[in-house]
Symmetry: C2
């Protein structure tokens, strides 16, 4: 079984991992209660705060991004409490499921898949809530399933004006891809996962918690143990963990955060912006439609509609010939769209390569001319 070819990961996670980070991952483990590990946790925690642009606690959990979102929700809320969930894709839907599972009362604010959530909808409902019954607004910043980025800056200003409600935000594919200034926007709970902008393999996830979120946690009565963030906060006082953490992934995290600091936040965000533009403009030149609203394209992933051909077959052709893995559509979008991840450890060459592969595959299927394929490369290149 060939599980290790010369694979190029162009999916929205797991994303490619730098050699230096893989080498750190492959070190011999150390004791998780040792001084050496505490020193490491101290550094990674500080660097996580840098990445989140915050003075808030940023906690490291062994688990997926879903575990981090669930931890953020169940550590701050109580049974029967009213929350708003923004839903315009698969992940928005998932947070509704989690909220309902724990007995929260959900007010859904919806937009069609591919469209952004309308900040005005949040404003209206929050302003009407005189009795301050809404305890949290839960939403996804970059909706990985559709390639839409929601206007978190505006929505968070409406949440702030409400004063009572916490913001609980899935930033799984936005942290490390675009600016998420947690302190400036006063975001209370921000969840993210390692296999995305962090450039490390899956297995760790992160939750940033504001003072307001910690205050809410004091009254939270939802049952929880492994995902109780109060235990993580208590351990963090001594740079430790309540349960055995994925030590080797923390080695990798340390290395990747250092690489990110070397590049600098501004350069990282500009790189993602360039890659987003290059992929989306090239896709249009290839006569393909963008699935997401063009004014709200995620910096992490571009969803592309494809007509006449099954998107799954198209994806397979690209995997077989070029060993580039693209993501498919989820749920009702399966076979209708494919998604190009351009998140994390991606350079300009990767972008040119994926456009060349997509363009040439369309040429070989007599869908576009070689001239069109060439133009798409030129357009992509102009943005790099």
């Amino acid at each position: 079984m060939a599980i290790q070819q010369k694979l190029s990961l162009m999916i929205p996670g797991p994303t490619p991992v730098p050699e230096k980070v893989l080498q750190a991952l492959g070190r011999h483990p150390i004791g998780h209660r040792s001084k050496d590990f505490q020193d490491l946790m101290e550094i990674t925690t500080k660097n996580l705060q840098w990445l989140h642009q915050t003075k808030n606690d940023v906690l490291t959990i062994t688990g997926s991004g879903t575990a981090a979102m669930e931890a953020g929700m169940i550590s701050t809320l109580s049974k029967g409490e009213k929350v708003i969930c923004g839903v315009n894709g698969k992940f928005g839907q998932r947070w509704v499921k989690v909220a309902k599972e724990f007995g929260l009362e959900v007010i859904k604010i919806e937009a069609e898949w591919g469209k952004p959530l309308d900040p005005k909808d949040f404003k209206t409902i929050l302003e009407k809530d005189d009795k301050k019954e809404i305890k949290a607004v839960i939403l996804t910043h970059s909706e990985t399933s559709t390639g839409v980025i929601n206007d978190l800056k505006t929505i968070s200003s409406h949440i702030r004006n409400h004063k009572k409600a916490l913001s609980i935000i899935d930033c799984v594919t936005s942290i490390g891809a675009c600016s998420v200034p947690v302190d400036d926007w006063e975001l209370d709970v921000v969840a993210s996962g390692s296999q995305k902008g962090y450039m490390i393999p899956p297995g760790l996830s992160f939750v940033s918690m504001s003072d307001k979120a910690w205050q809410a946690s004091e009254n939270s009565n939802l049952p929880k143990f492994y995902l109780n963030l109060k235990s993580y906060k208590k351990s963090l006082l001594s740079n430790s963990n309540p349960y055995t953490p994925a030590v080797n992934l923390v080695f990798a995290l340390d290395e990747s955060l250092k690489m990110m600091k070397d590049e600098g936040l501004d350069k990282i965000f500009k790189r993602h912006e360039r890659h987003k533009l290059a992929v989306s403009e090239a896709a249009k030149t290839l006569n393909l439609k963008l699935f997401a609203d063009e004014n709200h394209l995620s910096p992490a992933v571009t969803a592309i509609q494809i007509e006449d051909i099954d998107a799954e077959q198209f994806r397979k052709n690209i995997k077989n010939k070029y060993d580039i893995l693209l993501a498919g559509g989820q749920d009702h979008l399966k076979g209708k769209i494919f998604r190009v991840g351009h998140l994390g450890y991606i350079n300009d060459r990767d972008i040119i390569t994926v456009i060349a592969a997509i363009g040439n595959t369309l040429v070989e299927q007599n869908i576009i001319s070689t001239d069109t394929a060439g133009k798409a490369l030129k357009i992509a290149s102009c943005h790099l």
Copy 2:
């Protein structure tokens, strides 16, 4: 900061990791929804069943052993249900906390730390339960905090006779160290963690679930999402995962399970038995007391009492001079005992080395003679 010396891990987890496994860990990740990853999951799942000596489902979770135990409990039980918790150490205490957090009614069966749980206590309470109100018996097989192994074979026979109650067993430091014949003993829920007998770094945990456990899960009403094992079962039908798993740790798992199959269960268990005897007999020869009841010594870890000297200082001396990491006592045992882990990727040389280091440290502190230190080495060697 020197986080990577020539460290020898002699703690009950993280345990040493073979080079081959570290190399697998350090591979470039692949997509977790790809055919290649599904093929890998199919193999690791089969090999996990081999290790558990079972035809039951064995699920892989990204999280610690605590996450696996919590998942087993909350996926099968319902609010207000009565459970027995066996408590003779820190981990037994933890499962009581989890049970109470989720509103279960706990009947504690206790033994002093260092002593085994008495199977008769389980028999008595289970036989009295005519109304079959007890829904589960929760206990720790190898109590890592004290080095005691509980008589799971006998206790599980009493649980079977009750017919209704599920067995929910923490086998975190027994799986891979001694035989846990899940089918023979009809164990319903068995939890374990990667950084123990599995010889891989922390981050994955495992839950074996019997048909009876799955039946109970149909009625379970405790709120859960990330740790809902039904989602893992559903995904396992297509060798997949409900949430992004720690892909690289699964590479490592695949490699380590292959190494374990090459060695064979019988040889693995005999090696752990030899090492247990070597360490415990040598400790006695060094005039040190075993903390655990000598007839119930864990094959994974030996807890050693030390008088006149602070155990924490003793442990530090051994770390500083020999770069061997021993575990300390937990809670009220801190400073009173140290624990030698001999679990997972440990060979005879490691055992001789740790005995040499302990013996010589005692000689240097004028606590024992060089002759005694020499005798301890000889005794250890006789058992290897």
